[in-house]
């Protein structure tokens, strides 16, 4: 396969979240995702970037084009060295409609992407990886 492009953005403040959204939008547009797919992916990116910032105390987002055979997709990796998530099961449950829940937006984001995996060690950090196929 041809070489994969990868870009990494810091997530240190709320403006970085906006930049991250715009960057994901840019990549998705270049790869010609449909409008709805783009919106879903950028929204998921926004949720996860904000989590990394608020809960993970800051980190980074990597964005990479992936593809197998004729399929084209976009992979996003959110990483932080924050407190980690003690109970992933609970975190994946929808909490934000109550307004006061953990509000991690993880459960919702999961529905916006095709592949979703989360790696977290309390005290060490968290890594969330998502993929949206065209």
């Amino acid at each position: 396969m041809s070489e994969t492009r990868r870009e990494t953005l810091p997530l240190k403040n709320s403006n970085d979240v906006v930049l991250a959204r715009q960057k994901v939008r840019q990549w998705a547009t270049e790869l010609r995702f449909t409008l709805v797919d783009q919106t879903k992916l950028v929204t998921a990116a926004s949720e996860l970037a904000r989590n990394t910032l608020d809960h993970g105390k800051g980190g980074a987002m990597a964005i990479e084009q992936v593809g197998v055979g004729g399929r084209v997709g976009l992979k996003l990796i959110f990483e932080d060295q924050g407190p980690g998530i003690p109970d992933i099961e609970i975190a994946l449950k929808d909490g934000f409609t109550t307004g006061n829940g953990m509000g991690l937006g993880l459960g919702g984001s999961k529905r916006l992407v095709n592949e979703f995996s989360i790696d977290s060690t309390p005290g060490k950090g968290t890594r969330v990886t998502v993929v949206r196929w065209k």
Binding site: V18, R50, G99, G108, R111
Partner: protein
């Protein structure tokens, strides 16, 4: 510091969100709206989001908050112009924006607040017919 402008048209507050908001800007808007309602005695709040291509849980909560806070202060809020892709995504996210009235356009929003055929009133509050 940049802010989202809140325009006054009689008893109505009109807000058009055209920028990709960062969190602080959104919180500032929440603040501004509640302050203005108190200051001007507004009865209606119309938020035009037709330029917003992304509404995530934070922005969604902001809209719901503005609606609840306004109601406590005696004003009704209508959000207009939500794009289809945004609506589809919000549904998938699981956000139903409870307590937030919506309309397809600014005109429809005004109709909702002031009644059909009432036209727009610049201060009189008697005929606020909610369709």
């Amino acid at each position: 510091m940049e802010r989202i402008p809140v325009l006054r048209m009689g008893s109505l507050l009109l807000i058009t969100i055209q920028v990709d908001m960062h969190d602080k800007l959104a919180l500032q808007l929440q603040d501004d709206v509640t302050n203005r309602i108190a200051e001007w005695g507004s009865k209606g709040v119309l938020i035009d989001i037709s330029s917003l291509e992304i509404v995530d849980s934070f922005i969604g909560r902001m809209l719901a908050n503005i609606a609840s806070m306004s109601r406590v202060l005696g004003a009704e809020t209508v959000v207009v112009g939500m794009q289809p892709a945004v609506a589809i995504t919000l549904v998938e996210l699981g956000m139903s924006l409870p307590g937030v009235r919506t309309a397809l356009s600014v005109e429809a929003g005004m109709e909702l607040l002031y009644g059909v055929g009432a036209g727009f009133r610049t201060g009189s509050e008697d005929e606020r017919d909610e369709a």
